[in-house]
Amino acid sequence: MLLQQILNGLTAGSVYALVALGYTMIYGILGLINFAQGELYMAGAFAAVLLLSAYEVNFFLAFLFGMGVAALVGVTLERVAFRPLRGAHPLVPLISAIGASILMQSLALLLFGPTDRAFPVQFEFATVDVAGIPISTLQGAIFGSAVFFMTLLVLFVKYTRFGKAIMATAQDQDTARLMGINVDRMISLTFLIGSALSGAAGIMMAIYYNATYPRMGLLPGLKAFSAAILGGVGNIPGAIVGGLILGVAENLGAAYLSSGYKDAVAFAILIVVLLLRPRGLLGGRGH
């Protein structure tokens, strides 16, 4: 029972971690809390679901399409709602991001309606026994894919030219420009990557819960933000650890305290962490 709950928590937590990475990277480079991150998650899920319902395409192609659409929406969002506000007090783009979030939610509501959509592809998932604990292969697949994407991101940031340029821009924009780095392009690239990861997370959850709907990104988005803060905003390993801790804590809380307060656990942890360690568990950078 306990182990089962921890496994459920790790599954959800790995998805929070993916979204949290987007938050953390965007905060790192712009000092902006992208409140609309959850809507990118929703956009990715809808894009994949709609494509799969309309055409007989390969699942992986639809997955990539969903990530691509989320990335496109994210890059556009930065252009329209954040770039004109660069240099203003941090609360200004935050409010703009809130505006973008409700705008996208209501747009999805108008376009796709309020009802849940089932995931158009049925997967055959088995339950395997690992050391006496039943594990669903679906959970395994979600956790595995999340770890795959996180590894990809860490490798990208550490070992590629553009990855390093993003880190440099996040640290010191002026000096990055002196190296010949185009800061605007790095910010777009960051939005592209962060949004694609959130889109992937959205698709995974659309499969896990078999439901895609306009407000699906709201709570996971906010929880992922809590995860990012928990790990220290701007800190990439921190976002991953924060996401996993949050997922597990939430499931344990629901199982042993009260299921009605499941969604409150993340925010209670957030408030306590911010009070005790304002820079997160692993320490982030101030911007």
Binding site: R86, I95, I98, P278
Partner: protein
């Protein structure tokens, strides 16, 4: 028809109080509360519960609503001392969601169904089911709040608040106790939202958590941004417009949220000082000239 206009005026008044109270935090503390509807809800539920269950008089309900909401504001105001402005916004948001969940899950608050048969006010033997009387009561409260805010902003404390908002470090050097001021504003603002909640509960006579969620918090925020962050009159106008306009445009109700979202972004980009905030808004919120588009 008159009934309908009276109704609109009363509803606008609740939002005027809410917008003014949020504006105190945004415009004069330079911080954002994204859980403001939670204070509104706490006020509404406090007042409703004690008048329903204990048969307490309306006035006691109203006073307790203000006090309990203010107490929560105090509790939430303390973290402002330790964390950054934008993190605080998320903390208030998390607080709003927790309050929403508590209201949904507690037995005493009636869960998702909420509370019904909240008694109308019992003051001076007047019949407050008559909307004209209720409007008088509400207008009295609005005027009291306006007066309080106006006096506060134009007092010695108001100048201290402005100093904190615009130059926090300088203010501290000048010996202004910035921490105490910020907490005081949070507390006061929450109390005002609690007042609006009590007035709302006894007017509508049935409440459920739906009215006090994130959506309402964002609506209040939009009113403040539209009217002008830091402008008293702006909050009145912003609240008025965003209560009356949606009523007039009922046919387009589906597009309401879309419009709020667009409005927030558009205002910040093209008119960050709001409709009426000219010259009064915090320098903090306006883009430094020449830095645009760097």
């Amino acid at each position: 028809m008159t009934e309908y206009f009276l109704h609109l005026a009363i509803i606008s008044s609740f939002y005027i109080i809410l917008a003014l109270s949020l504006n105190l935090i945004i415009g004069y503390c330079g911080q954002v509360s994204l859980g403001h509807a939670a204070f509104y809800g706490i006020g509404a539920y406090t007042s409703a519960l004690i008048t329903i269950h204990w048969g307490a008089p309306f006035l006691l309900g109203l006073v307790l609503a203000v006090l309990v909401a203010a107490l929560f504001g105090l509790g939430l105001g303390i973290p402002t001392l330790r964390i950054r402005d934008d993190y605080l916004a998320i903390v208030t948001l998390g607080f709003g969601i927790i309050v929403d969940l508590v209201l949904l899950n507690l037995e005493v608050t009636g869960g998702p169904d909420g509370l019904t048969r909240i008694p109308p006010p019992d003051l001076f033997g007047l019949n407050f089911r008559f909307k004209g009387n209720y409007l008088t009561l509400v207008m009295f409260c609005v005027l009291a709040v306006l007066l309080l805010v106006y006096r506060l902003v134009h007092s010695r404390h108001g100048r201290a608040l402005k100093a904190i908002r615009d130059h926090e470090v300088t203010a501290r050097v000048m010996g202004i106790n910035t921490a105490a001021y910020k907490i005081a504003i949070f507390t006061l603002s929450a109390g005002m939202a609690g007042l609006a909640g009590s007035l709302y509960a006894h007017y509508i006579t049935f409440i459920n958590p739906e009215s006090f969620g994130l959506h309402t918090s964002i609506l209040i925020l939009t009113m403040v941004v539209l009217g002008g962050m830091g402008s008293i009159l702006g909050s009145v106008v912003g609240a008025g417009i965003l209560t009356i306009l949606p009523e007039m445009l009922r046919r387009f109700a589906d597009y309401q949220d879309l419009a709020y979202g667009g409005l927030l972004i558009a205002m910040l980009i093209w008119r960050p000082q709001g409709l009426l905030g000219v010259g009064k808004v915090s320098q903090k919120f306006i883009l430094p000239k020449g830095k645009k588009g760097t």
